[in-house]
């Protein structure tokens, strides 16, 4: 990320800010349009930070604050991992680790019409005792409460339940939907962003050289791993969980250690 110096003498880009810091002064850049991302707010001419974190900038005009927490704040177009909790008349209730449950419309699947709605059965062990919502019997998927889904956030407004979808913008499935087998664990939002960054995160690269596995990362702090044997999955999961506070070189060393121990 190039450090484009803003006209203010001390540029906050890529440095840590705390809530209340005025990070941009608009009076000195009148001719530009600036896009503000999460964590920033505008007070007349001053842009101030609302979250604690690092101020990021991407050309040509996007500013946002990046921070790592355990809780997720839903943003549009994020890809996340959700767990089915319940099914209602029009939506399925999905737990996305955010302040409110997400709604997944019954029709938001590829080729989803009223005739073939995914059926969610309630298992005896689950804590919810609601009655099974039965519509059509022909189901595209057999989804149970507790299914892990790879989803996309369509709408995310403050105070409302976010709306999710299992298709991409054009309506195709494109890898969204339920994830089978494997193992899911939770991380902080910062770590999941690191895992998704390009160039590839050092941990994933180091692991990928020796092991073969499949991974799905949700920006809400959930990661799903699948591999042929359970111990591969356990090694990958633990390696990723440990890499949170390590630098790139340290991550590679840690992975080497772990792999040596199992071989």
């Amino acid at each position: 990320m190039e450090n484009k110096q803003s006209s203010s003498p001390a540029s906050f880009v890529d440095s840590t800010v705390v809530p209340g810091d005025v990070v941009l002064d608009l009076s000195s850049m009148t001719s530009q349009t600036i896009k503000l991302g999460g964590g920033l707010r505008q007070d007349c001419d001053a842009i101030s930070a609302m979250k604690a974190g690092t101020l990021r900038f991407s050309k040509p005009n996007k500013y946002w604050i990046e921070s790592s927490q355990k809780r997720y704040v839903p943003c549009v177009e994020d890809t996340i991992l959700g767990i089915v909790v319940d099914s209602k008349a029009d939506n399925f209730l999905i737990d996305i680790k955010g302040p409110a449950m997400g709604f997944l419309p019954v029709l938001a699947f590829e080729g989803g019409t009223r005739r073939n709605i995914p059926k969610f059965e309630i298992l005896v062990e689950s804590s919810h005792n609601s009655i099974l919502f039965s519509m059509r019997l022909i189901g595209l998927y057999q989804l149970e409460v507790g299914t892990l889904l790879y989803l996309r956030v369509v709408k995310a407004n403050f105070g409302m339940n976010p709306e999710l979808s299992c298709t991409d913008a054009s309506g195709k499935a494109a890898e969204f939907g339920p994830l089978k087998d494997g193992y899911m664990f939770e991380t902080s939002t910062g770590l999941s962003r690191k895992l998704l960054s390009s160039p590839t995160c050092p941990v994933l690269e180091a692991l990928g050289k020796k092991l073969s596995f499949e991974i799905a990362v949700g920006l809400n702090g959930r990661v799903w791993v699948n591999a042929a044997s359970p111990d591969t999955i356990v090694v990958v999961a633990n390696a990723i969980m440990n890499s949170e506070s390590l630098s790139g070189a340290q991550q590679i060393i840690m992975v080497d250690h772990l792999l040596k121990n199992i071989q």
Binding site: V85, D95, A100, D181, Y183, V234, A237
Partner: protein, 450 residues
């Protein structure tokens, strides 16, 4: 309501299946072997009787306090022991503040059974006046973070806290012999509780397949396991209590688990004892340092000076009286007992006497301050400052000889002494070793002595 729903921790089907399949190949999701315990770390707080235990991600704190109560009527000469578990909402989203669910009650009951019914804590020694007054020991267990297996961690915390708890010593006195005098910790050392053995709780988790047993389950495993057994055993091989819930398990498996529990309990007992030892020795060291520290805080500076002058004469007066009354030999014993000297020292802040806190080179019978010398120095109102000089020498004679020399210096240095705090160490808590100044100086200072 929606927020509560959104905050609950949920387990996916993928996780459930994975944990079960991985266990069939003896793999646990955190990389441990089925019969491996997580790392235990025991830390103690500043006060006696508080311990914090970390078992992997699980953190539990145990605090022991005591107070006087009337005993139960059917046990008039035994003290009481009560456990109060508190599941803090910061530990887990499902814990509610105030109202503790049945798992909290179960946890309290298991620990209680392990301690009380196996007679681990000696309650008869807690009796003060039979039928009227006994000590009631209260153990508060606070769950700080739930990472699975709260019972084991809470048990270790309770034991560690019990072993480091000290209750004030009390004796009967008064005119009719029925008054209870509680001695403050400065007067008499508080006493530890008598703990006969350490009952350790070990939790086993059973899964669908009978052969799959894990020890010390973490949060995810606990949500998936079908049956659970908590065996409270001690290092001697005694089984103190067993709690079994969930799916039925064959007798063979139970016996195996009990054998395993005894081995693990031996390890954990060693760990607890080592931690308590370390804490006790540190505590003893601190206590010694405190007592040998010079209370001669006068060094602090000018503020003390005015006080000094007034206090000094007072002090001197008292001192002189005492000196007259006691012989040199008894000085030693006098010094040792702090109580009496305490009264002299309390409240007076001035001592130009500087102490160096050397860890204990205190031999009451060697180099005593020479009585004559002391009188002389006091008379000259140089105040005990002379003691500084004395430090180097351990011999009485030597000190005498010196006294003349340093004496003048002492006087002139008086103000300088106060100002420079270089030699002064610690002053903090005034311990009452002050009174023994003249004597002490010689001993404490001379590290070479003895």
């Amino acid at each position: 309501m929606d927020a509560r729903l959104a905050n609950t921790w949920r387990l996916t089907l993928n996780e459930k299946n994975f944990i079960k399949t991985a266990l069939l190949s003896e793999i646990r999701i955190d990389g441990r072997k089925p019969f491996e315990f997580r790392n235990i770390s025991i830390n103690f707080g500043r006060e006696d009787g508080s311990a914090e235990v970390q078992l992997g991600q699980t953190r539990v704190m145990g605090i022991v306090t005591a107070k006087f109560v009337q005993p139960y009527r059917d046990r008039p000469n035994e003290g009481t022991l009560a456990i109060y578990p508190e599941f803090s909402p910061m530990a887990d989203p499902s814990f509610e503040a105030g109202r503790s669910g049945e798992s909290a009650v179960e946890l309290g009951r298991i620990i209680d059974r392990g301690l009380r019914e196996s007679r681990a804590v000696d309650t008869e020694s807690l009796c003060i006046v039979a039928g009227k007054l006994v000590w009631a020991i209260r153990i508060d267990i606070l769950i700080l973070d739930n990472g699975g297996n709260l019972v084991d961690a809470a048990n270790i915390a309770a034991l560690a806290a019990l072993m480091t708890f000290r209750r004030p010593e009390c004796s009967l006195g008064g005119e009719d012999g029925l008054e209870v005098i509680i001695h403050p910790p400065e007067m008499r050392d508080p006493l530890p509780l008598i703990v006969h053995h350490l009952p350790i709780a070990i939790t086993f988790g059973f899964f669908i397949d009978e052969n799959v047993v894990v020890i010390d389950p973490i949060l995810n495993e606990e949500a998936v396991m079908a049956g659970r057994m908590i065996a409270t055993v001690n290092a001697n091989g005694d089984i103190c209590a067993i709690q079994k819930a969930g799916e039925g398990v064959s007798q063979r498996v139970i016996m195996q688990c009990l054998q395993l529990a005894i081995t693990k309990a031996a390890d954990i007992t060693k760990q607890i004892k080592a931690a308590v030892e370390a804490y006790n020795s540190e505590r003893a060291l601190q206590k010694i340092k405190r007592e040998t520290t010079c209370v001669g805080n006068n060094v602090k500076g000018d503020q003390n000076q005015t006080l000094d002058n007034k206090g000094i004469s007072e002090l001197v007066g008292k001192y002189m009286e005492r000196l007259k009354l006691i012989s040199v030999e008894s000085y030693a014993s006098q010094n040792i007992s702090a109580e009496e000297t305490k009264s002299l020292r309390r409240g007076t802040d001035s001592n130009c006497i500087k102490f160096n806190s050397t860890p204990l080179s205190w031999d009451p019978y060697s180099k005593c301050v020479d009585l004559e010398f002391l009188k002389a120095s006091v008379a000259l109102q140089g105040l005990s400052t002379a003691s500084e000089e004395k430090e180097a020498t351990g011999k009485e004679k030597g000190s005498e000889a010196e006294s003349a020399g340093p004496y003048e210096d002492v006087n002139s240095k008086w103000s300088a002494v106060d100002a420079s705090t270089t030699e002064m160490h610690v002053i903090g808590p005034k311990t009452l070793k002050d009174a023994v100044k003249p004597k002490n100086k010689g001993k404490k200072k001379a590290s070479s002595v003895i």
